[in-house]
């Protein structure tokens, strides 16, 4: 296009050119790595004569004798002015321009130049997302920006992640940030009802995303008012450019396996022998001779475990070795039985382009991921269509459309007996996978394969492999986001924009328990069908005005927004199926439940903002928003939220005029108030609920206490930051923030005597303060080699400042005024008593009713005192990233780290049961168990059906959660322009990428990336993935 324009210009002025005495100058323009640069504009300074380079970077220009200087310019590069002498060949190298100053920051209802921006935001570009084999974009944000934590505790494809911006501000209300897609807030969360984990964000194809901006402070996010309390994540999708249409194709194939090795477990022989030893010692102590004791130990072990993986009923002899001729029939490694190799396939194609009048972006994608656990997968078909058209010189119309369909299978989850992960961690290897005949061979199933063994004493009538082939947890999600918009320009300064959005989520979910084994056996099969529909309608109108009065720059915005949320759920449940394998409710003989319900929420808002700057040096921003929410009663329905911010570009001051090395030096600060209303939609009302039926008659019961005074939760955010960049190579940012959450929506516990457990109130206050810092340095920058290093760190503290009670138990943690929200509060492990091998814990000594202030130990877990044991929140977290490029090769290494924060290893607790649960798996650490008085060890005595409670929750299983993870490493090769043009492509790139390839954790044996509360709930393990991809542009 530009070429055409230039040609046109040249033609126009062609007459002038031929008049002078001309000569020809030619040459080649290259970038700093030596690649030729096409489309570089070359102009004779002061004259309207010029040309552009061709695809090989060469140019030829006829110049008049008056020409002194040529100006070479190209997008993304620093313009170069070159004096001409007499030469006829002039080769030029253009340096890449660090364009961070000209970057645009997406803010509420618009965009701002980064240089003029007074708030705190982090922008993540498409290239960071592109190579990553993740089902949803937010998983790729970890370590990429300060102040944001992303926890993906599950390796289930399509799983939900926990995203927190600048800590946690709430108790009962949601802490999830607001996600804004192309100017409209979109629905997030898990809308499935049977799946272990799901996330509607994964309906979006990350490859359609141009950039993601994390808005952290008040001025950036504040205009979203009540909805900005937890920060805002702004997603901008790709759109077309005027000019030749570009077609891009990308493909990615990846293979996954478990990322972190778990605790080593006993094999079948070790496990059997461990029990055998216990019984043998018991018999010897009871006076039996060695042979009798060995025989009895064999019998006792088999009868206690109800398993015998050996070929005879007397496998072990008194020497502790297998008797001669005894063979081991099987050794079931349940972990490998339930895990398989994960696989990702990801394809997308996009076409974008347009003219000055119409621009479009159209894409289609297919993402297919098979998880590492049986029956765990996720498939997405998506399409995106962004269109805009300048209908007249004052009217612009357009539409942004996202349409996607996902299908997800998950295994049974959490504490359920059918959860394959839990099963494989707690069932020992002495139970066979298949049913065995008398000779110990698996019995073939006429339908194929072998009959599965459902008989273990630990998890009776379950076999995760067998069940995974029969039971169903399937969710099909249809998501459509359609946003038509219209923009009117009355004058070039005054614009009106209106946008309406429908965000529809429609799910069909099936949960099926087969009639033969497991959960459905008792009722001859059970099917649940869930059919929720969530519809959000948003209408946004804004009027904006911007003008320049001399050195004064003014921008004003006023707007109005109305949002309607409606969730409708239908489900039905039936049992008693005629036979195995038939799933639909039509086949069920016993209808159990039919259910439907609706909930609604509405928001109405008015807002305004002004931006002012003087001479691009001093900046002032302010905003005001009034939100009404149907969550609150008439008297407290409307909340007023406001922000002020200022910036000072010190680098622009005259006293620094001579400091050429400073590219930018800016001091900025902001303060503002936003809100939160993310609680139950009818939380303020006193309610009697229907559906509490009895004896076939409809009944109602008192279900919720009224709280008329319920009102907005408030977040006051202060942000002070300094930004600097210099020598066109270094960049640094440091920000202090404090986020003070007041009137926190809080489920205040009540005495059960009131008939209720809690009432929703605004009773707590909490403060998050912290520092975020970022440095980026271009360490090497030359023709062929570039190295950019960046690192970021966030440290923050969380303090509960006020509650209606001094402290409150929250499971294994305690909320206490003066402490943080994730403070562990457990019994403290005091080790194993060497005299009797019993576990011991600390307790406060009390003598005749008065505490002495001393701590003593006790063997009784129930008597042990609970103490504060530190927080689950990390002290520091961040990322260290390196990007290298050498000629056509590039290498990027992204790491993520957290320091501090305690995590609880529940798996280890299950596997250190000291004999409590015969048949339950043990780790090899159990070999260290106490045996006789005087033994000093950390593993208590082993007793069949142990009641010592040694593995009850205590600090025995609480560990330092610090870790460093090689989040992503990518090696890419981009074909040189010469090569691509020879094969008639616009660009081509190949890469190999590794995700989560290495993890260095303080505590080994579990994945340290757990939920924000520091716990894991038998989740599907996080995966490491190796993938290969290619990207081709036509």
């Amino acid at each position: 296009m530009r070429k055409l324009l230039l040609l046109f210009t040249m033609l126009l002025f062609g007459g002038v050119i031929v008049n002078g005495q001309n000569r020809i100058i030619s040459g080649k323009v290259m970038n700093e790595s030596g690649s030729p640069l096409p489309d570089v504009s070359i102009l004779v300074k002061g004259q309207k004569i010029g040309t552009t380079t061709n695809s090989e970077g060469s140019y030829k220009l006829s110049i008049p004798s008056s020409a002194k200087t040529l100006v070479f310019s190209s997008i993304g590069h620093l313009a170069e002015e070159v004096q001409i002498q007499n030469q006829s060949i002039l080769n030029v190298t253009l340096m890449h321009k660090d364009n961070s100053l000209d970057e645009i920051v997406m803010v509420a209802y618009g965009a701002q130049k980064k240089s003029a921006f007074t708030g705190s935001a982090s922008t993540i570009k498409a290239d960071v997302l592109e190579n990553r084999p993740v089902s949803s974009f937010e998983k790729a944000l970890q370590g990429q920006a300060t102040g944001i934590t992303v926890q993906s505790a599950s390796g289930q494809p399509g799983a939900a992640s926990t995203v927190r911006i600048r800590g946690v501000g709430s108790f009962s209300a949601s802490n999830t940030p607001l996600y804004v897609l192309d100017g409209v807030a979109v629905t997030t969360g898990d809308f499935t009802q049977a799946a272990q984990t799901a996330d509607v964000l994964s309906t979006l194809d990350p490859r359609d995303i141009e950039s993601i901006t994390v808005l952290k402070d008040a001025t950036a996010a504040g205009l979203y008012g009540s909805r900005a309390g937890n920060g805002v994540i702004v997603i901008t999708t790709k759109r077309g450019q005027a000019g030749k249409s570009s077609i891009n194709f990308s493909a990615n194939h990846g293979y996954s396996s478990i990322a972190v090795d778990r605790h080593q477990l006993m094999n079948g022989r070790q496990y059997f022998k461990y029990w055998w030893d216990y019984f043998y010692d018991g018999r010897i102590a009871a006076g039996d001779n060695a042979t009798v004791a060995a025989d009895k130990a064999n019998t006792l072990t088999i009868s206690n475990l109800l398993a015998n993986p050996f070929s005879t009923a007397q496998p072990f002899g008194s020497n502790g070795e297998l008797n001669s001729g005894v063979s081991q029939l099987y050794d079931t490694d349940w972990r490998s039985a339930v895990l398989n190799q994960g696989k990702t396939e990801d394809y997308s194609i996009s076409v974008s382009g347009g003219s000055d009048k119409t621009k479009f972006y159209l894409s289609g994608g297919l993402f297919d991921q098979k998880g590492i656990v049986l029956a765990s997968d996720f498939k997405r078909y998506s399409t995106k269509f962004n269109l805009e058209n300048n209908a007249t010189n004052f009217l612009k119309v357009g539409v942004n459309t996202t349409l996607s369909y996902t299908e997800q299978n998950t295994p049974a989850g959490s504490g359920g007996a059918a959860n394959p992960i839990r099963f494989s961690e707690i069932v020992s290897n002495v139970y066979p996978l298949y049913r065995l005949d008398a000779q110990g061979s698996p019995i073939p199933d006429p339908a194929g394969g072998y009959f599965y063994n459902y008989n273990t004493i630990v998890v009776k009538d379950y076999n995760p492999v067998g069940l995974s082939k029969k039971n169903i947890y399937n969710a099909k999600t249809l998501r459509g986001i359609v946003s038509p918009f219209l923009e009117l320009s009355f004058t070039k300064d005054l614009k009106f924009r209106t946008m309406g959005t429908a965000d529809l989520i429609d799910i069909l979910e099936t949960q099926y328990y087969n009639p033969v084994n497991g959960d459905g056996a008792g009722v001859k099969g059970r099917t649940y069908k869930y059919r929720p529909r969530d519809l959000t309608l948003t209408l946004t109108n804004t009027l904006s005005y911007g003008n320049k009065f001399g050195r004064h720059n003014v921008n004003l915005l006023a707007g109005q927004e109305a949002v309607k949320f409606r969730y409708e759920n239908i489900y039905a449940n039936g049992t008693t199926f005629p036979f195995d394998g038939i799933v639909e409710l039509a086949s069920a003989a016993t209808p159990v439940t039919t259910f439907s319900s609706i909930s609604e929420k509405r928001i109405y808002s008015l807002f305004s903002r002004f931006n002012y700057d003087f001479d691009s040096r001093y900046y002032l921003t302010g905003s005001l928003r009034r939100d009404g929410s149907s969550i609150f009663g008439e008297d407290s329905r409307f909340g007023t939220f406001w922000t002020v911010g200022g910036g000072w570009r010190i680098g622009k001051e005259s006293f620094l005029n001579n400091a050429d090395w400073i590219d930018e030096l800016k001091l900025k600060g902001s303060y503002g108030i936003s809100g939160n209303d993310n609680i139950g939609r009818y939380a303020r009302l006193g309610l009697y609920s229907t559906g509490n039926n009895y004896s076939g008659l409809p009944g109602i019961t008192y279900s919720q206490l009224e709280n008329k005074k319920l009102h907005w939760e408030e977040n006051d955010v202060l942000d002070i930051g300094l930004e600097a960049s210099f020598l066109n190579r270094f960049r640094a940012e440091v920000t202090y923030f404090s986020r003070w959450s007041k009137d926190i929506l809080f489920a205040q516990p009540l005495s059960y005597l009131t008939g209720f457990q809690t009432i929703t109130t605004n009773l707590a206050t909490m403060k998050n303060t912290g520092i975020e810092a970022m440095v980026e340095a271009t360490i090497v920058k030359n023709k062929s080699f570039n190295w950019v290093f960046s690192a970021n760190v966030t440290t923050s503290t969380n303090v509960i400042q006020k509650m209606n009670v001094d402290s409150l138990l929250n499971g294994s943690q305690r909320w206490k005024v003066g402490k943080d929200r994730y403070q562990w509060y457990l019994r403290e492990w005091a080790g194993v008593d060497p005299t009797n091998g019993k576990p011991s814990w600390y307790m406060n000594e009390v003598v005749s009713g008065t505490p002495t202030g001393k701590r003593i130990t006790t063997n009784n877990w129930n008597l042990a005192t609970r103490y504060e044991n530190g927080s689950a929140l990390p002290k520091y977290y961040g990322g260290i990233n390196n990007n290298f490029s050498y000629k056509e090769f590039d290498l990027s290494i992204l790491t993520f780290y957290t320091i501090g924060g305690k995590i609880y290893d529940a798996d280890l607790a299950q596997q250190m049961h000291d004999g409590k649960n015969p048949g339950s798996q043990l780790t090899t650490q159990a070999f260290d168990a106490w045996k006789k008085p005087g033994d000093v060890t950390n593993v208590p005595r082993f007793v069949s059906k142990n009641t010592d409670l040694g593995n009850n929750t205590s600090t025995r299983f609480l560990f330092d959660g610090s870790y460093l993870r090689l989040k992503s490493i990518t090696i890419g090769y981009t074909l040189s322009r010469d090569l691509v043009s020879k094969i008639h492509l616009a660009n081509a790139r190949f890469y190999i990428s590794g995700e989560n390839l290495a993890t260095w954790a303080k505590h080994k044996g579990m994945d340290p990336e757990v939920s924000i509360a520091g716990t894991a709930d038998n989740e599907i393990p996080i995966v490491k993935t190796i993938s290969m991809g290619l990207k081709i542009g036509f």
């Binding site: 209106t498 309610l687 509490n692 009895y694 008939g755």
Partner: protein, 329 residues
């Protein structure tokens, strides 16, 4: 330019709608305002029905029955396939956080609160006086029943020490900020329970039938018999037992081995559990019945069965796996 002004006026008049006041008024679809729960005959009927639903949740009455069984010492829990259910109770390891006790406390006071709301609201409700009296009697009887469950679970038996600490009696609707009633003595609890039940006995409609699984005069007399028995007031206990049985003939011996599924002539108060009314998992039959579905993990030792004489038909109500008994497997 003129055209655009025109469009602006058009759009701003249609889109910049004034926020109608009722736009932000949303109402729940499956609940009603608590203050209106006793405003009509139908609502009161539903609220009275709801009281029984609160009894039948598995975390309450069902778990109480099962807990009492395993704590009685006459039953044992086998570990195979039991998923540690009721083991805390069986091993006497209950604490405020371990075992099902918290649920009993929570659910009983929830029922008591619902009864107290009914007792407060019914007096002023738009229903005929005779129905008012009948419903008040029913609500007070259920309130007594809930207190009786609590005092039997959380305090010393009356026969051991009536002056030992009891459980708090709640006879008013407590607001969140109200002072919580303290624990009185076991005797205070029994006095309160007796007075509620005597009120119920005097006021409940004598024409009620026991078909719908709700309380009738006979069942209130039965509860009184139990309460007097606990207090070792033998005469009162015996008198009320006779009153309770009045009109309910003993079932034929031949029906005693038919199991506990179909109602017989001697059933006075039946809690109606139905397959279409999900009251939660972990039901009594799941643990007690000998079939290989559900948990089926509660067992009676032979020594307990042997306490019944051989000609006692109740002895035959136990399922004995003869092969297992003979082989000792």
């Amino acid at each position: 330019m003129k055209k655009s002004t025109y469009i602006l006026i058009l759009i701003s008049s249609s889109l910049f709608f004034s926020c109608k006041k009722d736009f932000l008024e949303t109402k729940p679809y499956t609940s009603i305002d608590a203050t209106s729960a006793f405003s009509s005959v139908e609502r009161i009927d539903a609220a009275m029905t709801g009281l029984y639903d609160l009894i039948t949740t598995s975390s309450f009455n069902t778990h109480i029955s099962l807990t009492s069984d395993v704590k009685g010492g006459d039953m044992l829990v086998v570990s195979t396939g039991n998923y540690s259910r009721f083991v805390t109770e069986y091993q006497y390891l209950q604490s405020p956080t371990a075992g099902y006790g918290e649920g009993f406390w929570r659910d009983a006071y929830k029922l008591i609160t619902n009864c107290n709301v009914a007792i407060t609201q019914i007096s002023a409700s738009p229903i005929p006086e005779n129905i008012k009296k009948d419903y008040l009697a029913e609500a007070r009887a259920l309130r007594a029943w809930a207190h009786l469950q609590l005092v039997r679970l959380f305090a010393q038996p009356f026969a051991v020490d009536p002056s030992s600490p009891g459980i708090p009696v709640v006879d008013v609707v407590l607001a969140p900020a109200d002072k919580i009633p303290p624990r009185g003595t076991v005797k205070d609890d029994y006095d309160f329970i007796t007075s509620d039940l005597l009120f119920a006995k005097a006021n409940i409609s004598p024409t009620r039938t026991n078909n719908g699984g709700r309380l009738v005069l006979n069942s209130i007399n039965g509860l009184l018999a139990r309460v007097y028995l606990d207090q070792e007031k033998w005469k009162d206990a015996s008198d009320h037992a006779v009153l309770a049985r009045n009109g309910y003939s003993l079932a034929a011996a031949s029906t005693l081995l038919n199991g506990f599924v179909d109602k017989t002539s001697e059933w006075i108060w039946t809690l109606a559990y139905r397959s279409d009314d999900n009251t939660g998992y972990l039901q009594i039959a799941s643990f007690q019945e000998p079939y290989d579905i559900g948990y089926s993990t509660f067992r009676t030792p032979l020594s307990f069965i042997n306490l019944f004489s051989t000609d006692d038909i109740r002895r035959n109500q136990f399922f004995v796996n003869k092969t297992k008994v003979q082989t000792g497997a």
